[in-house]
Amino acid sequence: MTAVREPSKSPSGSTAPAQTPAPAEAKGRRPLGRPMLYTAYGQDMALLNTGAKKVAVGALLVVALLLPFLLEDDLLRLLATGCVLAIGAIGLNLVTGYAGQVSLGHAFFLGIGAYTAAVVSGDPDDDRLYGLGITFLPVWLLAGGLVAALVGLVVAPLASRLRGLYLAIVTLGLVFLGTHVWNEWDAVTGGVGVGRPAADPVLFGVDLSRRTESFSADQQLYLLMFVLLCVFALLGRNIARSAIGRSFAAVRDRDIAAEVTGVDVRKVKRRAFVISGFYAGCAGALLYSITGYLDPSSFGLLVSVQFVAMVLIGGVSTISGSIMGAFFIALLPRLTRELPEYLPFLSSSATQTPNVFQVETLLYGLLIVAFLLLEPRGLFGLWIRIRNYWKAWPFSY
């Protein structure tokens, strides 16, 4: 494994070279024709630290930007949802994967973001619902993220007092309390079964959820969500590979050892919850602006479990894994819809008994179990296996 670099796995606090080299040294120069030789720490920690990665990421970006012109609208909408889910999954991965604080309360933060954004962008003349009428996207996006982050700050003291499964159960309690609040607070949420319109994605006077002359609504939404995902993913990667990320990993691996080496454990946990809350809030705000409508029952325990599934199926403590997991979960319903063609005993109607919806839920459960049992590193781990196989090909090691 010496030749293999795993960039996304941030080195844990105690073993990593803690001192960053002086700026001049950090740049380092590579001798010509030796692309794999690292002469400075800065090269090793660079975002795209190998040539292959530069090419692959560049190619992925080009393909992703071409997709709106190649795919049907309904698939694009699904991919846009996938991008938003990926933002949420990165947030959960930062707190659960990197910082090791098990949170089942992601749905709660998602709801806070979604409703804050809906209130900020809502119609101020509506008698039934609160609304401030600021439809400019960055404003309600940041508002949703910041309010959720603030709630994360309030919840964090619980995390610094509790460890492991105690924390998981408390965050699970938050989801139930949140659902109760959403059900009852009619002026914000519209109430059970009624719901309210979600935030309007308006950018410089253009409502992106309506078709314009040159683009359809889904093309615009996909491009918007993709760009935002790139921003959030880059931010996440930078958090993970900087001092903050290393302190997260230190707390996850051994909190007492981290404390001894000078990491302020409470502060780190607080930071993790705030950052994760911000990501979840932004994801919640964006998620429902795609469908344009949100109902108080959309933030239940199953949503939290879906995010946990994204993180586990994608790969714990990897940003690229979170994105893979999110797209996997987003596309899973679409894949199961195709199943009745191949398995005639399955029905696509919800009223008959082996139906695709049951298969879909069953798959969430079984995939979590199967990945944890067989490939704990998730899809990212599968990719590492494939990559290593081809690196050594035709030899088996």
Binding site: Y166, G173, V305, V308, G365
Partner: protein, 295 residues
């Protein structure tokens, strides 16, 4: 006064069921240091098994039969999915049980169907006159079941070889192994017992109104109970369960009158509020052992 007493009786009745569920969580926690999120599914599976069996064999025979069947299921789950995870972080195992819960509930829901299934209990909502109070018979039955199961567990852990072996392996697995205790089998036994107890609790959750696809949420109310009581204390679980039942019952009776701003059905989430309050004051619950940090 009459209202208060009726509220207490209802609280203790449902509290007994929460206590049973909490005990099932604690048994698994003590054996493998994992909070099993699969308990809701096992409880629901038990209730559904009883609803199918009580027709042919009657309710009182159906409950033990269902408990045995679900215990076998629990044993199988431990062998296939929990066993291979020994030595992995507990969080990972907890998430596995979460996945199991989802998968099992899909299958169980097929058997429930869209409507409410009656478990075929002989009590229904009928009441009996007790010291001048119209007490629902099912609450008495719930309390009796808690007493019977509790006494049985006490005797089992106190006087039987297997109970001793289970206590030993929960205290220190390696030392227990050295003394000849088959620790692996004890974990499997713990899962089987916990699944059986959850099934019994499920049968009594279904008394009166029956079970439907959303009944599983009730099992999660045992989580505040075990946290309040401390994750590793069976006595604490019973106290926690009764406390949760009482709090919920009191909120159901009086919150609409005195605290109306909290909204309808606040009683359903009141256990979680209690949980937050207790944990802020005592991070390891009321009866839990404080974790000693060794470096």
């Amino acid at each position: 006064m009459r209202d208060v007493l009726l509220t207490v009786v209802r609280g203790l009745g449902f509290g007994s069921v929460y206590a049973l569920l909490a005990v099932s969580f604690v048994i698994i926690y003590k054996s493998s240091k994992v909070v099993s999120f699969a308990q809701p599914a096992l409880m629901l599976a038990g209730a559904v098994a009883v609803s199918y069996l009580s027709g042919p064999v009657g309710f009182f025979l159906a409950v033990p039969l269902a408990a045995i069947a679900i215990a076998m299921l629990g044993w199988g789950l431990e062998r296939t999915t929990i066993r291979p995870m020994i030595g992995r972080p507990v969080f990972v195992v907890a998430i596995i049980t979460l996945g199991l819960d989802i998968a099992i509930r899909v299958v169980v829901n097929v058997f429930i169907g869209p409507d409410v299934r009656n478990v075929g209990d002989p009590w229904g909502l009928s009441t009996v006159d007790l010291f001048g109070l119209p007490v629902q018979e099912r609450y008495i039955a719930m309390a009796v079941v808690l007493l019977v199961v509790g006494a049985g567990l006490f005797a089992f852990f106190r006087y039987s070889r297997y109970g001793l072996a289970m206590r030993a392996s929960s205290l220190d697995q390696e030392t227990a192994l050295v003394q000849g205790v088959p620790v692996g089998n004890m974990t499997a036994l713990a899962w089987a017992m916990a699944a059986g107890i959850a099934a019994v609790a499920g049968a009594f959750v279904g008394t009166g109104g029956g079970v439907d696809q959303s009944t599983w949420v009730i099992a999660l109310k045992a989580l505040p109970a075990i946290i309040i009581g401390g994750l590793d204390s069976i006595g604490g679980a019973v106290v926690g369960g009764l406390l949760v039942g009482l709090v919920e019952s009191f909120f159901a009776t009086y919150q609409g009158e005195y605290l109306p701003f909290l909204g309808q059905n606040f009683s359903l989430v009141s256990p979680y509020v209690l949980l937050l309050v207790v944990l802020l004051v005592r991070p390891y619950g009321l009866f839990g052992t404080r974790e000693v940090e060794r470096v």
